[in-house]
Amino acid sequence: MQAVCDQENDERENMAHSDASLAPRDMPDAPVTAQTAQARMAELSETNARLHAENRALTRRVAELAHANSDLQNLLESTAIAAIFLDSSLRITHYTPAITAIFRLTEADLGRPIDHIAHRVAYDRLKDDVAAVMRTLAPLEREIRDPQGGTQFLVRVLPYRALDNAVAGTVLTFMDVTALMRAEALLRDREALLRSIVEGIPQLVWRAVEPGCWTWVSPQWTSFTGQAAGAALGRGWLAMVHPEDRERVVLAWQEAHDAGQLEVDHRLWSLEANGFRTVHLRARPVMDAQGRVEEWFGTATDVHEMLLMQEHQQVLLHELQHRVRNTLAIVRSVARRTADSSDSVENYADRLEGRINAMARTQTLLTRATQSSVSLRDLISNEIFAQTVDRHRIEIEGPVVPVLGKAAENLSLAIHELTTNSVKHGALSAPGGKVGVRWEIDSRTQPDNLRLVWQETGLEMPVQPPGRRGFGTELIEGLVPYQFGGTGRLVFEPTGVVCTIELPLPSLVKVRVSITG
């Protein structure tokens, strides 16, 4: 612009010189002769030709100036930048068409102060901002909003410098940044979401460069280990790994590049547990466009509880294996004993089924019971009333005593045998017979002793004791001492059977030890 202006000046100067040359060189003091007239004519026509040439040059310059002006106009319009030019008194000197979307401007408004023009943006400080820029000459930026359309504008206020570099006013530009702001807001939301996920998951999240050099770590790391995020960076995190596991973890990192992944379990210090907990370290490489490893993104997951549960499950599985094996052994034993004392296949089948049913009932009781213990009362009544419905002939009395798995199985087999015998040959086989089952706890001994008495009464015709040691007798006199460390005695009194079992109370709630590692 300046250059163009300078040329124009030169042009004018040249023209000034030309004008000077048009003036008569010497005033006609001498009389005009035909010769001089001719000379003057020639001179005039020469001047005329020069004038024409000058005029053409001027026309060309004017066209050039108009062109430049129109370029500028087109540029302003094509950028769609809404701009408004103000003079030092805040009067509008010029504007671009795009501004009419914000200010209701027409050609007629040129020369009017800006604060007289209605506009649709919430920009109360416009006048103050312009005044401030005029005063300080420092450009100013402000974000404003169109409250109706929701459009967001970035307003720039710049000083307008005239040719002599003096500040002649201000230029205001309005840029529609709605899309940009939306994208930014979206990005912020996404970032917040990502952050809340990364910081919300129970895993400890980190980023690293090879090999094992951490560059970032999530806050969970600090709350888990107590180590500050800054201290964990680089290889600082290794200090929180169990000393015995460090070599393994470092080795896993060395192999991670070739493997394309990192998977290793190790123990990590836990502030809350005040001890080490097992975590599963897992990382995958993040590749750049060329497929080179840019960094590693990884997590550490607390698998301590899971491993304990797996171990517990293994113990339970072993326990189950053991019990199945023992149960089969018992069934085998019971079958053999039943065969030894049966006189017909039918008789054998009946008695065997009765005994297997007794075992099955105990299993049902144990399965239903919490803590896999049953009460001694339930166990006894369950067995007796499986074979008789005469409730008034049975009396069961004693304090609450819990019985655990194996003890319950053995005791109910014993009660089953006593009941079977009573129903077939004893008190429950005759109209007047009664059965009383009573127990008490003797605390004078160490440990406490349980004393249980099964007593049959009311028999008119006492049964003959069986000639050989039956299965019931073996259970009471063989199994009770062996399994419970107690004593068992089965006596055939004239009034009926009397069975006395004494055993240390803890043997009823004995818990099997588990073998781990």
Binding site: H322, N326, R332, S333, K510, R512, V513, I515
Partner: protein
């Protein structure tokens, strides 16, 4: 349901091996008759299992020591009763049989673990001993107690 017999020795002469029931097909020799006249300790907390094993062993002419389901009693029996060999259950209710195994090993008395458990539960203390999985049939147990590569009880 696989029931396992596990043998361990302090100075294994063989690598860990699989045992076979019914005798080695290459050698028709069986070892079950070796029980005859021997004093065999049974440590087993399950009454029925103990009674069954005792019956079988007595039929084979063995003299049964025990049976017992308690560590303390088993140690007493070893001390008092000149045991030739032992069959041990691992779980004895609220205690484990390992102190008995240690004592037998100290006295160079052969023994077999007879358990329904997987052999992997044997504590690390007992690695370095030959382990052998087998159903608890007396033939398999006899092979482990009296077969070749043992301390040569005969």
């Amino acid at each position: 349901m696989a029931v396992h017999a596990i043998l361990w020795r302090r100075k294994p002469r063989r690598q860990i091996q699989a045992c076979r029931t019914g005798g080695n097909p290459l050698s028709p020799k069986t070892y079950i008759q070796e029980f005859a006249g021997k004093r065999i300790l049974i440590v087993e907390d399950e009454y029925f299992l103990a009674a069954e094993t005792r019956r079988k062993l007595e039929k084979l002419g063995a003299h049964v020591v025990g049976p017992t389901g308690r560590v303390r009693e088993a140690l007493d029996l070893i001390e008092l009763d000149n045991v030739d060999a032992a069959i041990l259950d691992i779980h004895l209710g609220d205690e484990l049989v390992f102190p008995v195994a240690e004592q037998l090993s100290l006295l160079d008395i052969p023994f077999v673990f007879a358990t329904g458990y997987d052999p992997s539960i044997i504590p690390k203390t007992f690695t370095g001993f030959a382990l052998c999985e087998k159903p608890t049939e007396l033939e398999a147990i006899a092979r482990q107690l009296f077969g070749p590569g043992t301390d040569g009880m005969s």
